[in-house]
Symmetry: C2
Subunit: 528 residues, 2 copies
């Protein structure tokens, strides 16, 4: 262990001015892991934000190909992390090694995917309207638009993805790709993991000669508020609870200069099981669904938390099988003691509700989470009961039986914003219930058919977002290449000579990118 | 005058349930114009928002070509408005007929431009990642992304553009283009104009068979808060003062479901006059600049309000000429009595400041605005003095002399966010001051060279936006086709069959649009 283990990462150096020492814990045993992490002082948070602000003009001036090389170098460093690293992540999160290895590949893969986006160059959104000097009654000047990074971005790591939504995760990758330096707040649940990953990013930054301050990381609890309120920070990425995300949104909105917050928060991810599908394959749907519910101990943002079907003999049989499946599931160790505590609290609120009944699962007790199945009255959805809309993080699912197609529509109308909405349907169901699709579009960011929402592909077309409270801004995605747009803003040059324009807008199109020229999409160079 | 003149426009009908009657005034004489406008009640605001919400699923389901036809029909109706309409606008705003005719052409032109955007279809942002069933370790599902309108949009009209930033203005056009029904709050300064324009939109909606409630308009003052707080409203467009815009932002952020607000607010639009340009053409720059300052009585968001130059004999001569030009300008009638009052207040604050001195212009008195020139100490900019950053709406400009290039950079660093930043420069200046350009990029939405910021071209490449307080969200533009993006959100379909996908995502590409397919931009259809 190096001498500065547990120190904050500020401006390419390590810093530990504070006196509050934090510990990380073994998620299985609850024992503290060796070593301490020093909570950042307000001065250190200020220094980190200022380091990012100083790096911003330098970093965004770097040619886009070099920026891509930096992302590729981060990916290589992540892939090169050793077995001890994997063990550390497993100890801090109780997640199995295979999952962590897969998550590492996903994390390095998304860095490389953003590098590809940078080289393709469509993120620039380059548009050129050439001068029309002879236009009547007034000539048109030459106008050219592209996008730049919005400025330093604060990123808050998630508890449930120690790699893919954390230090070098999707928000960090999107911000760095956009040309925005990052100040990352390490999640208290996996500080040792964060340390190794931050070191990997710094190595990549040094190898590719990025400016000091392009990536900074701070430890601590209250440091988050200081960070979001710092005038140098221009946007925030967050994955976590509704309460935490909303607090950051409120803080950001109350700043002298308000800034956008992209918080991915709370979703119950409704799964609608339609009649013909239940007739055809009710038992296998029950098995697949319960597997999706308990995957990763139910600790996914996209865990299916709500299942809705129309009352019928087949639906009853499906519920019986689902109950059997849930009862057959073993208990799971959660990411940390706080998570288990929240899970128990959430279950308690469900049990206390008069119109919600337990259908399966052992009583919650001990150090592990027991999978649970509840049934709720359809009227609760129609009446927008908050309990049914509130995500309970862990291996629990609630089923709602509606009387008919009309009540199904009413129940779905009552839903708040969601990350995902899933139909389990045969072709005949889709004919009968086609009207549900446009309605689900207004409720969710991703619509699935005959699949399960856990497992979020990192690609160009993914949307991991959705209306509030799924996220704080339905116009963004925190997974996939669209995520870069959250951290970009447009600039227009009027009558600038070619040599002073950015490469993306030069006549010769030296980057060879697709541009909108006088209203036509083309990769062609312009005549002088 | 028809029987329901002055009634609110709700769900395709007219409504006047309230008892508060408002009047419009002749901007030149201050005399009330004939007729009354009935302030909407809270029930009517609720009805308007609900009408928009009811229209939303119907409107967004309409084929994009028909939506384009609706925009074209609005443009035709605007162009067909008679001379009496032009006279009404002139009376309500004291703007000359030629300006209003030009503004009408701009307003109908931007409707037609958005229709073109709809037909081109790139606003869909269509992306397709095809299934990879044989991928290891896990197959990739078929994933397809496009964008839909975010939901009903509340639009607040601007005082200074009775047509182009009002009832059928840029925000309304962008929202309708995006597939979002609109509830428009008429500006109290030109309610008769709003009435004629709203009627034109309704005629177009009826002719093209749009759903009732696609466009609604309400009169009144306090109605704005009810509108922004209404749960059916999903985004807000606003053009006006910093105080008004910020109040709406705060209100929207405090809702149970926060919504995005795109407020275009306050900008002093710095013009930096560089040494060689002053040597070469100082006198003509002074003449052009003063013309830009007084254009439209200085009532443009992009009025150059701050001029910065390096002390020299040429700069002194430029200031003398600028003072002569400002003294030679006639007084101007402002849009309304409130505007004149605010102008006088703003001038008063400048006069009271110890480090700001009047250089030219007659004392402000009477019923018209007198053009004014002030000089401020450079240290005020460096120290971020709020008075120098605060837009004074009207024909006033402040000059700041800096000692040298270094102080120029310091002064510019002190600037808040701006809609525009202008360099007046010879090629030799651009060599010497090239470092200013990347810095100005971080301050403004549009960078001009040897032009003046008034006159905002409506086109693909325009950015009318910028960091706070120029706007509430630097990632948007309220002029040009990029404005549509503010009101769109992404949706992803996973494993949907071709027949259930929207046209934009179908294999055959029936819209013939550009799409990102497996990471490659192409208009090609996909094999089944």
């Amino acid at each position: 262990m190096s001498a500065d283990t547990g120190h904050n990462f500020i401006n390419g150096a390590r810093s530990a001015q504070g006196h509050t020492r934090l510990q990380s814990f073994d998620a299985n045993t609850g024992e503290p892991l060796p070593g301490f992490f020093t909570e950042a002082t307000q001065q250190e948070v200020d220094a980190a934000a200022k380091a990012a602000a100083t790096a911003y003009p330098l970093y965004r001036a770097i040619a886009v190909g070099q920026r891509a090389a930096f992302l590729d170098a981060i990916a290589d460093e992540l892939d090169a992390l050793d077995e001890a690293f994997i063990e550390t992540v497993c100890r801090e999160t109780a997640l199995p090694a295979a999952r962590i290895q897969g998550e590492r590949a996903r994390t390095s893969g998304q860095m490389r995917l953003f590098a590809k986006v940078l080289r393709r160059g469509d993120f620039f959104g380059a548009r050129i309207d050439r001068a029309l000097p002879d236009r009547q009654p007034l000539p048109r000047p030459d106008l050219r638009q592209y996008h730049i990074g919005i400025g330093p971005v604060a990123v808050f790591g998630a508890s449930n993805f120690p790699l893919a939504f954390s230090t070098a995760g999707g928000d960090t990758a999107a911000a760095l790709a956009a040309g925005c330096p990052v100040v990352f707040k390490a999640h208290p649940g996996h500080m040792a993991t964060a340390e190794r990953v931050a070191s990997a990013i710094i190595r990549a930054a040094e190898k590719t000669e990025m400016p000091a301050g392009v990536f900074n990381m701070i430890y601590g609890g209250t440091v988050g508020a200081w960070l979001v309120q710092h005038p140098a920070i221009k946007a925030v990425g967050f994955t976590g609870s509704l309460k935490g995300g909303r607090a950051l949104c409120d803080m950001a909105a109350a700043r002298p200069e308000p800034i956008p917050v992209f918080a991915e928060m709370s979703s119950v991810n409704p799964v609608i099981v339609l009649p013909e599908a239940l007739k055809e394959r009710g038992a296998s749907v029950a098995a697949e669904l319960s597997a999706s519910v308990v995957l990763g101990a139910g600790q996914f943002c996209t865990k299916p938390g709500l299942v809705i079907g129309i009352r019928s003999a087949e639906f009853d049989a499906f519920l019986d099988e689902l109950a059997r499946q849930v009862n057959a599931q073993p208990a799971h160790t959660m990411l940390n003691a706080g998570g288990l505590c929240n899970y128990a609290d959430g279950l308690g609120r469900l049990r206390e509700h008069e119109q919600i009944h337990a259908l399966a699962g052992r009583p919650q007790e001990g150090g592990q989470a027991h999978p649970q199945l509840f049934a709720a009255d359809a009227q609760l959805l129609i009446d927008n009961d908050p309990l049914l809309q509130h995500e309970v993080f862990g291996p629990v699912v609630i089923v709602v039986a509606v009387n008919d197609a009309r009540q199904l529509e009413q129940a779905l109308q009552g839903l708040q914003g969601q990350l995902t909405a899933t139909l389990i349907a045969q072709p005949a169901d889709l004919d009968a219930f086609a009207g549900l699709i446009p309605m689900l579009e207004t409720k969710a960011g991703r619509l699935l058919l005959n699949g399960y929402p856990t497992g979020v592909e990192v690609c160009e077309a993914m949307v991991h977002g959705g209306p509030y409270p799924a996220t704080s801004d339905a116009r963004g995605s925190s997974v996939g290449t669209l995520a870069i747009n959250r951290f970009l803003r447009p600039i227009c040059f009027q009558n600038y000579p070619d040599n002073l324009l950015p490469d993306a807008l030069k006549n010769a199109n030296p980057l060879g990118i697709q541009r909108l020229v006088d209203g036509i999409n083309t990769p062609q160079a312009l005549g002088q």
